[in-house]
């Protein structure tokens, strides 16, 4: 998912160094993994020393953390939230339910593979992951941004038809999106 940018301008490199230390995580508890987020954010495993704070509105957030499984009803809201976030944005899949369904693999109402619906940057393994694992994966994400390889948000514009076909199939009909994806893609010259 991350293509290597062989030629970055000096300004892009400086921007990457500054933005990697100031990421805002959207406060959205989508599944049962959210119980390990308060210990990560508060005094014991302090996440704020890396510059990651929590943000309440998707319009001003950078990281979307999908904590665990997603039922189809929540998946609709997550897709709308993802499209409202401003680029560049990063999705982190938390737990084994985003990888292949986890322990609800034969359930009629949870989705099995998060990659089909929105592009994912990194995964965290576990059920559920410890706070140290969450911080280690955030550090890996910070390194990826520094090297210029965290570009999965561009994949959404390039392969929009693939994502939209999967979404419509599982929602059994197209949903109303309020954001104009094609115009956004033109803005980034994709």
């Amino acid at each position: 998912m991350g293509e290597k940018m062989t030629q970055r301008s000096v300004w892009e490199k400086i921007a990457a160094k500054l933005s990697k230390r100031s990421l805002w995580m959207l406060h959205y508890c989508t599944g049962c993994g959210a119980i390990e987020l308060p210990p990560t954010m508060t005094a014991r495993f302090d996440m704020e020393r890396f510059g990651i704070g929590h943000m309440v509105t998707p319009r001003q957030a950078d990281i979307l953390l999908i904590t665990g499984y997603l039922s189809v009803k929540t998946l609709k809201r997550v897709v709308l939230t993802y499209e409202q976030m401003q680029s560049p944005k990063y999705v982190v899949g938390f737990g084994s339910c985003t990888i292949n369904g986890g322990m609800y693999w034969n359930s009629y109402s949870t989705m099995k593979k998060l990659d089909q619906y929105i592009p994912v940057e990194t995964y965290i393994a576990g059920c559920m992951p410890r706070p140290e694992a969450i911080i280690a994966s955030f550090n890996a994400l910070i390194d990826k941004i520094d090297r210029g390889e965290a570009n999965s948000w561009k994949d959404y514009y390039k392969n929009y038809d693939f994502y939209k076909e999967n979404q419509d199939r599982v929602f059994e009909g197209p949903i109303e999106t309020y954001n104009d994806i094609k115009a956004d893609a033109a803005l980034f010259k994709i």
Partner: protein
């Protein structure tokens, strides 16, 4: 063991419900099997006369081989501290019907709505039978026994490809499938 308290409660209830069968299961648990048309009278007397003020839950069991649904009502008494499980059977159809208890007990509203969307039983006289949890679901009522969730999930959703050699060997030998 001598179940004095439970037996005295049964003696209070038995005279008016001669066609019901009462049984003491163990300490603090009584089981009653009723014909389905007498349930509403039983519930009114439970609340107003015998002081069973708490409706703990309403459960539904799908006996597909008998062709019936079984509804179980759990009542609890705060003073005597005894639980009564009242069981009735209704015929199993595409949309079965039964009377509601939601004008007597407010907790019944949630359980009846839940049973309606999961099993397909419509409770007549209830104010609100809209879907609560499965708002976008278009399939059959999922808790019925003829809905196999594994087949549905394997057909409807896409899974990740993962076929390592040890898994292929195990499946070829016939193991790993329950």
């Amino acid at each position: 063991m001598d179940y004095a308290k439970e037996n005295s409660i049964i003696e209070k209830m038995q005279p008016e419900f001669k066609d019901a069968s009462f049984r003491v299961v163990k300490e603090r648990r009584i089981e009653v099997k009723l014909p389905s048309e007498r349930l509403y009278d039983f519930a009114v007397r439970m609340q107003k006369r015998w002081n069973f003020l708490h409706l703990s839950a309403i459960s539904c069991v799908d006996w597909i081989e008998d062709g019936e649904f079984e509804l179980v009502y759990h009542f609890w008494n705060y003073d005597e501290k005894v639980l009564v499980m009242a069981k009735i059977r209704i015929p199993r159809e595409e949309t079965s019907h039964f009377d509601t208890l939601s004008n007597l007990w407010q907790p019944a509203k949630f359980f009846e709505r839940d049973i309606h969307e999961m099993f397909g039983i419509y409770f007549d006289g209830s104010e609100d039978m809209e879907r609560y949890i499965l708002t976008d679901w278009n399939g059959p009522p999922p808790m019925r026994k003829d809905f196999i969730t594994r087949e549905f999930a394997l057909n409807f959703y896409k899974y990740r490809e993962y076929e390592p050699q040890w898994l292929k060997d195990m499946m070829a030998a016939g193991e790993g499938n329950e």
